[in-house]
Amino acid sequence: MVESASPSLRAEKLRKRFGALTAVDGVSFQVAPGEILGVIGPNGSGKSTLFNLVSGVYRPDEGQVCLQGKSITGLPAFRVARAGLCRTFQIASPFSKMSVWDNLRTAASVGFWHGHAERAESVLALLRLTHLRDERAENLSGGQQKLLELGRVLMRDPSVVLLDEIGAGVNPALKDQLAEAILEQRRAGRAFVVVEHDMEFVRALCDRVMVMALGRVIIEGDFDTVVAHPEVIESYLGMEA
């Protein structure tokens, strides 16, 4: 594990069981400010559960999570968000009947209301969604909805962003846009943890990659090293449906 002076996010030995199934089995990782960590692994390896543990959707059975030095272990989702860690969901979850503009405003409604209009303008510009500001979120294409998800998260000026398969189902042009936006944001010091299946996307975006299988971390390192590792190859070929 790469040790960092003061990581934005540190998770230690997280464990979560659902009945007889141990979905996450002693996972530890950390991300430094401005770093982009990729999380890959076959379906069922525990990636989404890990996100849920870190973001407060589930409470871990064991382990800890620290955000900028402060513990957020076991806090409910809304408190984790208020502390500065925001996430997107695997299935696009915009506020369908609300306009893009209102989606962004709602994201700012707790703690970021002052100056929210200016911030919303700049977020729209960053994601090139300005022309859609008054459009209902449900009328956006899938890819645009993913961009909106990112936009909402950015309204809260988070120190850590968890992106759960944000590229899934997005066409290549919009995907590039997403990547651009993420890289631009990291310069502001934001850390990103990205779960993805598209390897090109991962390689282009991530500084480091962590591979999960069966709830554990198999290996961690830079993309090329990790991908060549025999265990990784086996777990993908062996398990992927």
């Binding site: 959707v57 989702a77 968000a81 969901f89 209102d102 709602t106 409604s109 008054d134 209902r136 909805q145």
Partner: protein
């Protein structure tokens, strides 16, 4: 609102002023009615006002927040019985009794709200339903409420007075709802909860607290209306103020008009109440109204779930492109 936002509002900006204009027009009409209508028709107008107010209130929790309460009649009943008991047994004046009724109704919702609002959709519906029935049964068995035989209030026959009372309450409800649901952060938050509660929480919204507040606000006005209603009709019993018809009508009026829209419940409330009275006048029939209500609910849900108001709204859907994501 800061300048760039207001300017960039464009069509939305013009719409802002239109809403306030609409409200102002409503107030003007309400004020003028008693000069035009008398007696029986004035009483009809009074009823229309009350039901519009009830539908608008229910819409806060049912339409805007997406938590369909099948027991809201309980709050109406609490207000009604509070006023009835305070005025007839303790000689309390109407204004004071009314306010106390409102407070008690809200308190009831604050007690009942937290546990029930943790439940999702169907469970919440059943819980609120069970609760309202429990309230009705309690009114049936307790002595202070007069049991199944009901209780009466000091009589007052004054069409203009009661019209004025309902008018004030309805305007109050309308303005408060408009500000809270359409022009504030709170409104954005409750709508977000309806659309996707998990996302709302992931954006820092304390969903439980927001829901409880929405529930309380949605209970406060019906409690007031219930109190006013009791004084107006002079006699109440469990069936008339705590029974199914109260909640049923609140729901269908909001649904018919347009769930989660501001003007929908006004439309639904007025239409349905007038329909009920027409049926009563021309056919002496109260039960056919029930059947028709039920039928209308089914039709709306199947064919026009957005309600009648959607006929008046500029279509918000652009040409379907590649649609993605699950709603």
């Amino acid at each position: 609102m800061s300048a760039p936002a207001a300017a960039a509002g464009g069509a939305a900006g013009a719409g802002r002023y239109r809403q306030w204009l609409g409200l102002a027009a409503l107030v003007v009409v309400i004020v003028l009615v008693p000069f035009v209508l008398q007696g029986f028709w004035l009483r009809i107008a009074t009823g229309v006002l009350m039901w519009m107010g009830l539908a608008v209130s229910w819409n806060i929790i049912g339409g805007y927040t997406g938590y369909v309460s099948f027991g809201h009649g309980a709050f109406f009943g609490v207000g009604a019985y509070t006023v009835a008991i305070l005025m007839s047994r303790f000689g309390v004046s109407f204004p004071l009794a009314l306010v106390i009724g409102g407070v008690l109704g809200t308190l009831a919702s604050a007690v009942v709200g937290p546990p029930t609002l943790r439940l999702q959709g169907a469970y919440f519906a059943i819980a609120t339903w069970a609760l309202a029935k429990a309230f009705e049964q309690m009114a049936n068995v307790l002595g202070i409420t007069g049991g199944p035989y009901g209780t009466s209030l000091p009589p007052l026959i004054n069409d203009h007075f009661f019209y004025a009372v309902m008018a004030v309450l309805t305007v109050f409800t309308a303005v408060a709802t408009f500000v809270l649901a359409e022009r504030s952060r709170f409104g954005l938050q409750i709508k977000a909860i309806r659309e996707n509660e998990a996302s709302a929480a992931a954006l820092g919204i304390h969903t439980t607290r927001v829901k409880i507040m929405a529930f309380a606000v949605s209970a406060f006005f019906p409690a007031l209306f219930g109190g006013a209603y009791a004084y107006w009709v002079t006699f109440i019993n469990p069936q008339s103020v705590l029974g199914d018809p109260i909640t049923d009508q609140m729901i269908i009026m909001a649904l018919l008009g347009g769930l989660g829209t501001f003007w929908g419940p006004f439309l639904g409330g007025a239409l349905l109440y007038i329909l009920k009275e027409v049926l009563w006048i021309y056919w002496s029939n109260g039960t056919a109204y029930l059947a028709i209500m039920g039928f209308v609910i089914c039709l709306i849900v199947v064919f026009r779930p957005d309600g009648l108001i959607s006929f008046f709204q500029r279509s918000n859907a652009r040409q379907p492109g590649p649609q993605g994501g699950e709603g």
